[in-house]
Amino acid sequence: MRVVVIGAGVIGLSTALCIHECYRPVLQSLDVKVYADRFTPLTSTDVAAGLWQPYISDPSHPQEALWNQQTFNYLLSHINSPNAANMGLALVSGYNLFREAVPDPYWKDIVLGFRKLTPRELDNFPDYSYGWFNTSLILEGRRYLQWLTERLTERGVKFFLRKVESFEEVARGGADVIINCTGVWAGALQPDPLLQPGRGQIIKVDAPWIKHFIITHDPERGIYKSPYIIPGIQAVTLGGIFQLGNWSETNNIQDHNTIWEGCCRLEPTLKDAEIVGEWTGFRPARPQVRLEREQLHFGSSNTEVIHNYGHGGYGLTIHWGCALEVAKLFGEVLEERNLLKMPPSHL
């Protein structure tokens, strides 16, 4: 059973790991390969700040709420491991700020210690009059991808630097199942008018006195278009850019100024912080995640494709729940082909 995962961002690598963990014990012939034209530190995941936080509004697909929760619980279960920092994982608390009262988010009971902000806390943020405080998780993209790569390598999963031009090419190469984790570039393999780049730009600064995330919301402008400050393990990410349809991969000076001015206004202590880097990435924006099977016919054989892309700005937030779902679909494929001798222990 030859599986090829296309894509080596958080979705590709975590899905590869999840499938291998679930099925290698019961399927000796399982062979998983990862094909990608970009590996860390050049993936979209590497640009992400890494804060676990779904969008404020309810997801259009209710399953996404479950996948987000599964991911949080999975990550939280590792928080007391000595390896947590190695995974890029840490607890972080912080503020969500609004200009007017809003309903509580559906994930308020998933995160820890969710509460409204007190008036004294809001005094700190003169442009905002309402907000939340909660404890969540940071999962730093680059460190996590390195960790996933180590786990996969230990398991004998091989990586190939390859620009895949078509599913057919991979099928004719001998793949029985293809897991499509190509993120924002999925349209190149199969047109998808629902998928668009949600261009983001971020500035990383050295500001180790900042221990909280601060995310502002402006419902008129939309998600990620309002300043945010997210501390990581070594640096603090400043952002606030979301441009649908913009494929420009270079840093833009106006965006730089928007981010810098917005974040310094929000957190004056940043004034003298040293900038250590600036990056652009494309959130794979889609009204909902595409997570489904598709059967393709090339010549006489059937190739199973399981799509897992379109996670927008919440890829790290939802990744493990999606990986588990893909593993479940993969299990169905194995059953249909009578390859499973006994049910795998994970499901």
Binding site: A84, A85, A90, L112, R120, W209
Partner: protein, 341 residues
Amino acid sequence: MDRVRIAVVGAGVMGLSTAVCISKLVPRCSITVISDKFTPETTSDVAAGMLIPPTYPDTPLHKQKQWFKETFDHLFAIANSTEAEDAGVLLVSGWQIFRSIPAEEVPFWADVVLGFRKMTKDELKKFPQHVFGQAFTTLKCEGPVYLPWLEKRVKGSGGLILTQRIEDLWELHPSFDIVVNCSGLGSRQLAGDAKIFPVRGQVLKVQAPWLKHFIRDGSGLTYIYPGISNVTLGGTRQKGDWNLSPDAEISKDIFSRCCVLEPSLRGACDIREKVGLRPSRSGVRLEKELLVRDGRRLPVVHHYGHGSGGIATHWGTALEAARLVSECAQALRTPAPKSKL
């Protein structure tokens, strides 16, 4: 008397902050800070600087709360300003956890810190050996950065800084009109105060930048305080122990106790040991005393004995010390009433 000459003995957080407060409150005075030790070699430099105040048995509770609130408000304003990095002040959230339900579930300072509440069951799962906890956001004020920042302020307002070891407060007479005694443990000798004693604290300063929350065991013996450039792990509270050299066995014990609370600390590196002697007393000594000897008079304002609550109360007590100094200065400036004879 035109210019009142004030000597502040001690250059820890008390000496320096009192000098700053005096410069703002007392007109026409000259201030000299005199100490044998300066940052980074003072007790204030070893302290983690977390604003979680202890309780002083002999000081009225309303006073302690006032001092803590004044200090908190003062540092909160700095934490949100462009001075924060230069002053070494930051906001930190975290948890104080208990192995058994404490007698006092809500401490006197609960409404001074931000967002104080009980921990939820889910939050407590991180600490399987603990059954109760408090979550809140407070401030951290780091000696090695804050003290130089205060020193700049002292000099900026015309104050002088002198390195000298004072063995007797009378050495300051007649060069100075008022002495402010912020000598901490030094008051055992300088003020003949047998009520002040050291409580030895050993800590580790480590690199663990992924830690963003403080964790404090309610006993006060084990704590993890992430700061700007390192994380402080503690600690010990050894009464009457004057030993300033770190003990390797104690370091191992501190590390192991902290790893129980935060297993990811196993990945910490660059571990440094430090020792500080908390200037402990059953109550802060904040009062005037007129020293008299052979017809000479020397007004003294005592400002010491903060134990483990120095950073947490310093601004409030410094303001009060400055008020006492102001009273002394007023008295010196008011001509003595002429005798009726």
